[in-house]
């Protein structure tokens, strides 16, 4: 949406550019609120006129003549009330209009920014803490569209200002020109203000983001903080940032505190100068007293628009920073490109081809080098490797959470990068190593919004050995699990996560150590369930336990970033010492204990 880039050295230009974006988006609402503002201005003038009219036609005659028609009194009441009601309409139009516009723009930015969160790659997410993203979507968006609130008022009063200036010029040119010197001063004041405030405002928004980051992380890790008794240190960390934000806000505040009264004082000083000069001009016969009074009066009229424009300009530094911070997210590139291809969803297991795959988190340090293997449809392959050997990285590559640096991953002969968005997920499901559950019902967590009949949900739960405890929950499938599934035990969470994959009946199922928190008995049953299910899905399992490995037709042994050996388990144990040592560690231990 907001693809306009706001540029400009000072924030004044950029501030107007931000507003222009909003006006272009919401011309109708903007017009209504501006008309409301003009109505308000006009009726404020009308109020004075009504008072004048009532004085001349009602009050003075009434006192002079002692008698007055009831009709005229009603007219007074009617006029005053009419003007007041119309003015109230103006106020509502202006304020509500500004509100509608502001909240619409906020909502737009929030939707755009979150859409971007959902489409940016994992690499981007790893560099941007959750708390900061929250701040972008909340505080920055709010800051960006802050000036919309005073906008209609400012625009409405511009008309007032123009009329007053023209009248002034007609009254006495010299005095008017002197009086109008106030404008360059207003501009100078604004330039100085924007210069001074911009840096601090930028810092303040940044600090808000950082504060939100600390808060989010600290609350996320609350259990660790508590178990280690680190509350004081966490508080100190938060306090340090909160104090930095406080100092910055105080600085911004001080600059702002000087700006408003300065702007208010300028026209007042101008009035005084005009008065002094006016008296001299009257003395020299260049003008008449009435014109002096008119010019001073008009200058005081001008002072209100100047103040209200000041309120608008005052918001600019924060607005520009907020807009830029949001814009940076919207402009972040690297969203994954998708192809057009669709994947066949029915039929037996998919064929998986990995050829020449290379990947590294750091350009100079490849983690996986030249990996090639094929898994024939319906076969089960166990991926075995030591801690940190890159197994999860490989599963992430398989689901295209990240893209390979070199080589290719093909499913049924199609490069995963050629598949259209969402297609891969219809073929392949991954059960991640760490289960992630949503604050949703059991059903919602399993179907993820897809239209799946309950029988299928139960069936998946049965295979994952989760039917028992789910049935015992108070509301069964409708039980809410709390954020990240806090109301379940670790193993229960894993099994829900497993059921989530199973219910999709994927043609290629990848289990990344997905039964680590499940006790042996249950794991044995789950594995049996997976095997007996007459689905011919292709299965890739990351595992250490020999029972799991035993289920596989073939084992891929990952070490030093490459598949160093492959074949049936029994053969590998015989010929590869590293492999044998890794998988037989428990027996070795057992021997050690019993001997």
């Amino acid at each position: 949406m907001t693809d306009e880039r706001v540029s400009g050295a000072g924030s004044t230009g950029a501030g107007f550019a931000v507003l222009w974006v909003a006006i272009k988006r919401e011309p109708a609402v903007f017009t209504i609120s501006t008309i409301g503002s003009l109505l308000f201005g006009a009726l404020t003038v009308a109020d004075a006129w009504v008072l004048g009219w009532s004085t001349d036609h009602v009050v003075l005659p009434a006192f002079r003549d002692g008698e007055i028609g009831g009709g005229l009194l009603w007219a007074v009441l009617g006029l005053f009330l009419g003007v007041a009601i119309l003015r109230a309409v103006g106020i509502v139009a202006r304020r509500l209009g500004a509100g509608v516009m502001q909240y619409r723009m906020q909502a737009r930015s929030r939707r755009a920014v979150t859409r971007q969160y959902l489409s940016l790659p994992m690499e981007w997410h790893q560099k941007h803490p959750t708390g900061e993203l929250l701040s972008n979507a909340n505080s920055d968006v709010e800051a960006a569209w802050g000036p919309i609130a005073p906008l209609p008022m400012a625009v409405g009063t511009v008309a007032m200002m123009v009329i007053a200036v023209v009248q002034m010029l007609f009254a006495d040119l010299v005095l008017a020109v002197v009086g109008l010197l106030v404008f360059p001063l207003v501009i100078a004041t604004n330039v100085i203000y924007q210069r001074l405030a911009q840096g601090w405002a930028t810092r303040a928004q940044q600090l808000r983001g950082e504060l939100s980051e600390i808060a989010h992380e600290s609350f996320d890790g609350a259990m660790v903080v508590k178990t280690l008794g680190r509350e004081p240190e966490e508080t100190a960390r938060f306090r340090a940032k909160a104090e930095e934000l406080r100092e910055t806000n105080i600085r911004v505040g001080r600059i702002r505190a000087a700006f408003d009264p300065t702007l208010a004082a300028l026209p007042n000083i101008a009035v005084l100068i005009v008065l002094v000069l006016g008296v001299h001009r009257v003395l020299s016969g260049a003008t008449v007293a009435g014109d002096v009074v008119t010019v001073t009066y008009l200058l005081t009229v001008v002072s209100f628009p100047i103040r209200s424009i000041g309120w608008l300009l005052g918001e600019f530094p924060r607005s520009v920073v907020g807009y830029r911070r949001v814009d940076a997210v919207l402009r972040a590139s690297g969203a994954m490109p998708y192809g057009e291809a669709t994947a066949p969803v029915s039929g037996d297991g998919a064929r998986l081809d990995v050829s020449g795959l290379a990947y590294g988190y750091h350009a100079d340090r490849p983690l996986l080098r030249d990996l090639s293997f094929t898994v024939e449809p319906g076969r089960t392959v166990a991926l075995v490797g030591a801690t940190a050997s890159g197994k999860s990285t490989l599963t992430n590559l398989l689901t295209r959470l990240v893209d390979v640096d070199a080589g290719a991953i093909r499913v049924d002969g199609l490069d995963v990068r050629e598949l259209a968005r969402g297609e891969l997920a219809r073929v392949l499901s991954v059960v991640p190593q760490t289960a992630f559950l949503f604050d949703d019902t059991v059903r919602g967590n399993i179907t993820l919004g897809a239209d799946v009949p309950d029988e299928e949900v139960w069936e998946a739960l049965r295979t994952a050995q989760a039917d028992g405890f789910v049935a015992a929950l108070s509301d069964g499938l409708d039980t809410r699990l709390g954020e990240r599934g806090t109301s379940l035990s670790g193993g229960q969470r894993q099994r829900i996560s497993l059921a989530r994959a199973l219910v999709r009946r994927p043609r290629l199922l990848v289990l990344d150590d997905a039964t680590s928190a499940v006790d042996p008995e249950v794991e044995a049953r789950i594995l049996a369930g997976l095997r007996s299910e007459d689905r011919d899905a292709t299965l890739v399992v990351v595992a250490y336990r020999k029972a799991t490995i035993g289920l596989a037709d073939e084992v891929l042994f990952l070490s030093d970033g490459a598949i160093v050996d492959r074949g049936p388990h029994d053969e590998l144990v015989g010929r590869n010492d590293d492999y044998a040592r890794l998988v037989n560690a428990y027996e070795a231990e057992h021997e050690g204990v019993t001997s």
């Binding site: 008072l51 004085t55 009434a62 006192f63 009194l73 007074v76 005053f80 009330l81 109230a88 106020i91 509500l96 509100g99 906020q106 939707r111 489409s119 959750t130 708390g131 909340n138 505080s139 709010e142 939100s212 808060a215 992380e217 178990t227 280690l228 966490e234 508080t235 104090e243 105080i250 505040g253 001080r254 505190a257 000087a258 208010a264 004082a265 009035v271 008065l275 002094v276 009074v293 005081t300 940190a388 689901t399 968005r421 499901s429 190593q433 760490t434 992630f436 604050d439 993820l448 919004g449 108070s474 193993g491 006790d519 042996p520 249950v522 040592r581 037989n584 560690a585 428990y586 057992h590």
Partner: protein, 596 residues
């Protein structure tokens, strides 16, 4: 257990009063600031007076235009403007300073209180909403404190002065004005209530919005790999739109209540003129009032209307601020039911601790009992393994043992002292839990390890790692201790995250170590190596280890088998396997089968 207090039923004045008492800075130098505010508002009359004086005496004076008088008058007025502008600056700057300082204090207090709340209470509010409470909810208050709060007092003063002035001119007309404004004043309460609800909804929606955003951001991998972006976006959009609707609604009330003031003003103007005429005609009270006085009165009314308008505006802003404020105060109002006994708390002795569960039962709030009749004693220095089916209550047991929760029945004793009587600091330094779901902070590996022991030097960390048999692993990391672990530790592998958590616990050097599946993601070779290291390190400590891999149980002094919330078996491994048909025998059989 207590739910997180929303603060929504704290009254408006109550909120302000309590808010101020939580942030004493807000009261600092308030008299001076108020004096400055009065001075600043007096600035509004400088120019009108100067103009009027110039016109009357400078221009139309009896002796013709008087340049000298005008010049001196202008200079005096200029000085007055400079003075009052300065007063305005000084007042605002002071308000910024006191309110920012006060709010920073409040923020930090609330943040700390969240950490002091029991685990289960923390879990009743989503992270995103908690973040909103210590960030944007607090920010909401500042605008009001700077541009509203104190100026409200000033405008009340102005209203009073104007009223007195009106009464001096004509008490009857003053009465008319007050009668015309009465509906506004009376309806104010109604609108305040409406606004209060409307803004409370807005703040609540902000919390919901942030939660809706944070969840899929944290779970981005799942959202991505299951291609549920569309549905996720729908949920976020719903929250965004709900927030938009709530804000617009609140704005509607604001605009409407503000416009009422204008109508009252119109009514008052008409009323003054009409009643003024009647008074002049002697129709009401026999009072003589002149046309000039009636007109002068009409001008005084504007002195009354201005502050009234401003005051209603401030009251509106106040509702917005209060809505944020009370959510922060709500946190502070949430009682920490796990009360730290404070100074009267007992300190645990150094050295291995003995553990006793006496008739312990536990049920999560609103749920069925999860643990029942747990009686268990573990002599100091013993290594105990806890095994049992998924969901049988092992982690719950661990959480009771480390006092993350208090039992619903019975008590847990360490060294004969009820955990509820142990001082929090003593407890946390003697007892360490490595939870099932470890959490790392987005910092370096060393910094994460130091959560175990503050100020541990790099050498100490390396030594601890070597003790655990992790020296090779650490040496193999390109950046070593300086490796950045990423958010939640996600730049490390799952196994590595557990290694860091262990390292942390090792550095903490506890007397009672509770490991809940602490090595579940570590490869068997490394796990057995760590297991052996731990065995060595456990001497002189009591340890409770929960594990699914029965290798741990085989090596323990004693095994405790939990089944459906009860302890069904206990004893050394060798003895338990012998008990045919027992839970443990079953678990072991499948373990052996798996081992292949």
């Amino acid at each position: 257990m207590t739910m997180m207090d929303t603060g929504e039923d704290i009254g408006g004045w109550e909120t302000i009063r309590r808010g101020i008492s939580h942030s004493p800075e807000l009261k600092e130098g308030i008299r001076t600031t108020l004096a400055l505010a009065v001075l600043a508002s007096a600035g509004q009359v400088v120019v009108p007076i100067a103009v009027q004086q110039t016109v009357d005496r400078g221009l139309r004076g009896s002796g013709g235009p008087d340049a000298t008088f005008t010049t001196w008058l202008a200079l005096a007025a200029a000085a007055a403007i400079v003075l009052t502008s300065w007063a305005s600056y000084a007042m605002t700057a002071r308000l910024f300073s006191t309110s920012e300082r006060g709010l920073a204090t409040l923020r930090v207090k609330a943040f700390r209180h969240v950490h002091d709340l029991p685990l289960l209470t923390q879990n009743t509010e989503r992270r995103g909403a908690l973040v909103a409470r210590v960030t944007s909810d607090v920010d909401q208050v500042s605008q009001f404190l700077v541009f509203g709060g104190l100026l409200f007092v000033v405008s009340i003063g102005q209203i009073l002065v104007a009223t007195v002035l009106m009464i001096v001119y004509s008490w009857q007309l003053a009465l008319v004005v007050w009668i015309c404004f009465a509906p506004l004043f009376l309806s104010l309460r109604y609108f305040q209530r409406k606004l209060s609800i409307a803004y409370a909804t807005v703040r609540r929606q902000v919390g919901i919005l942030l939660s809706a955003i944070s969840e899929p951001v944290v779970g981005a991998a799942v959202v991505r790999s299951y291609a549920v972006e569309a549905r996720t976006q729908e949920r976020i959009d719903a929250a965004v739109l709900a927030h938009q609707a709530a804000s617009t609604r609140a704005q509607g009330f604001t605009a409407f209540s503000f416009s009422l003031g204008g109508i009252s003003a119109g009514l008052a103007n008409a009323g003054v003129l009409i009643v003024g005429i009647w008074l002049g005609q002697g129709r009401l009270w026999s009072d003589d009032i002149s046309a000039g006085e009636v007109l002068a009165f009409a001008f005084i009314v504007t002195l009354f209307v201005g502050p009234v308008q401003f005051g209603t505006q401030v009251l509106t802003d106040a509702q917005n601020a209060i809505a944020g404020w009370r959510r922060v105060i709500g946190i502070l109002d949430t009682p920490a039911d796990l009360v730290d006994p404070g100074p009267s708390g007992q300190t645990l002795p150094a050295g291995a601790l003995d553990v006793a569960f006496e008739g312990v039962g536990f049920a999560y709030p609103g749920g069925p009992p999860v643990l029942r009749d747990i009686d268990l004693t573990i002599p100091a220095g013993r290594r105990v393994a806890v095994v049992g089916e998924t969901g049988s209550g092992k982690s719950t047991l661990a959480k009771l043992l480390t006092r993350l929760m208090d039992p619903t029945d019975g008590r847990v004793l360490l060294d004969g002292v009820d955990l509820r009587e142990v001082a929090e600091t003593s407890l946390r330094s003697s007892v360490v839990l490595v939870p099932q779901e470890g959490f790392l902070f987005d910092d370096t590996l060393a910094a994460n390890a130091r959560y175990g022991r503050l100020g541990a030097t790099d050498d100490e960390i390396l030594a601890a790692a070597a003790d655990l048999g992790l020296g090779d692993w650490l040496a193999g990391l390109p950046d070593g201790l300086a490796t950045r672990v990423g958010q939640r530790g996600e730049s490390l592998s799952a196994g590595e995250r557990q290694l860091v958590a262990l390292l942390r616990a090792q550095l903490a050097d506890p007397d009672l170590l509770v490991l809940d599946e602490a090595t579940s993601a570590v490869d068997p070779e490394l796990e057995t190596r760590i297991g052996r290291a731990l065995e060595r390190l456990m001497s002189g400590r009591t340890s409770v280890t929960i594990a699914h891999r029965l290798s741990t149980a085989e090596a323990a002094d004693e095994v405790v088998v939990v089944d459906h919330g009860r302890i069904v078996q206990r004893g050394p491994h060798a003895a338990l396997v012998q008990e045919d048909g027992s839970v443990y025998a079953g678990l072991h059989a499948s373990w052996v089968a798996q081992r292949g």
